[in-house]
Symmetry: C2
Subunit: 214 residues, 2 copies
DNA sequence: CTATGTGAATTTATTCACAGCA
DNA sequence: TGCTGTGAATAAATTCACATAG
């Protein structure tokens, strides 16, 4: 069995598994059962076993899963063996926060360059990352960049994304509160904090006590 | 037909609809069809019609939807008529960014108070929001607070959440990269940027060109 | 003729139930 | 016995197909 038909829901849980297993490994833990792991990541143990089963037999009956073995496997499938370079577009409050954070912790992803429209910002360096002028974006060669993090205001998101695509970027993590209209070969994930907060308030007010999201 | 059995997926789209309709209204638009709206929010038009149908007939056949009517309706169901007060726990880079942003735009939600462990920060005011000492959290009366935004480091998230619950908070928007173990009447939504970025990288590398997330 | 509203069909995801290996 | 791996059953969400109202 190979990754030729991995359900989307499964794929979206893999990074969570990966990070959690890294944490367990750092505590010195070497094996774990699907039920113990399920409690930690708050995913039903059957779902975990099924998720792993799409990639073949990763565990051992009566034993559970070897954490290092899972990590080695997930590192490959999540392309964490090689460094994934991303750019950040929009160095406002949120963009600056992400630059300072820069996904350092056990994560082979790095913001290598940032862009901003503000001429006072371009040329500066924040947390080791140089800020370029937004006007340069579409002319740069960013074909070695896998994705862009979009932290520009809503009204600039579409045009910024188009410039990034012109420079070679194929994916976006979009923090701007708009949906982008982009070519079908471009993949976008939205991180929409306002929507999340309103959804939270909706569920709290309508009493969905049981369900934990994601 | 009332909101007595609204699917979770529908509920999670309502804030997106609401914001997008606010934007359309601000452009002076008064009516919209499900298909035109679907293109804007990137949700299939049938899904939109079905979503609205759970709340009764909000549109008119042959006409579409009256934007103001939808807005009035969504404002109620999303509890945007009254101000929703939230607190922010953890005034690091991300927390500071959220304080500066503070959900101002057409959103009746406000961060009214922040907490941080750093004694140098408590007492200060950022973007009009006062920062309190983390030690005060569990003793404060936050029963008028609907939710807390958790922007503390992973290893502090669980204990910070427990203190917030002690103070009366019932919901969390959790930015910390851990799953929280909390009483079943507490609702948590996770905003997990690292997971999102890794999922994006996964899909880009495994070629899922078609699908747009969320 | 347009565009909603909705049962029915389909697809996707989760959960059950248990066979089988260590 | 303990725990995985997986077909079968169920549940949830989406999409189809079309009747119907304006």
């Amino acid at each position: 069995m190979q990754n030729h038909k991995v359900p989307q829901a499964t794929a979206e849980r893999l990074p969570l598994y990966y990070r959690s297993l890294q944490h367990l490994a750092s505590l010195g833990k070497t094996r774990i059962s699907s039920s113990e792991f399920g409690e930690i990541v708050q995913v039903d143990s059957t779902t975990i076993r099924k998720d792993f089963s799409y990639f073949g037999a990763l565990g051992r009956k009566g034993y559970g899963y070897n954490i290092q073995h899972l990590l080695d496997f997930l590192r490959k499938i999540l392309y964490q063996e090689e460094l994934s370079k991303v750019i950040l577009i929009g160095v406002g409050h949120l963009g600056t926060a992400l630059l300072n954070h820069n996904f350092q912790k056990n994560n082979n992803t790095r913001i290598v360059k940032a862009y901003d429209t503000d001429p006072l910002k371009s040329g500066k360096v924040i947390a080791g990352t140089e800020i370029h002028a937004m006007d340069d974006l579409e002319h740069d060669d960013n074909r070695d960049i896998i994705a862009a993090i979009l932290t520009v205001p809503a009204d600039q998101a579409q045009s910024a994304a188009e410039k990034a695509i012109a420079s070679g970027v194929k994916g976006f993590l979009n923090f701007a509160p708009v949906r982008l209209s982009l070519p079908p070969d471009v993949y976008v994930r939205h991180v929409d904090m306002t929507v999340e907060l309103q959804a939270l308030i909706y569920f709290l007010n309508h009493g969905m006590e049981e369900k934990q999201s994601q």
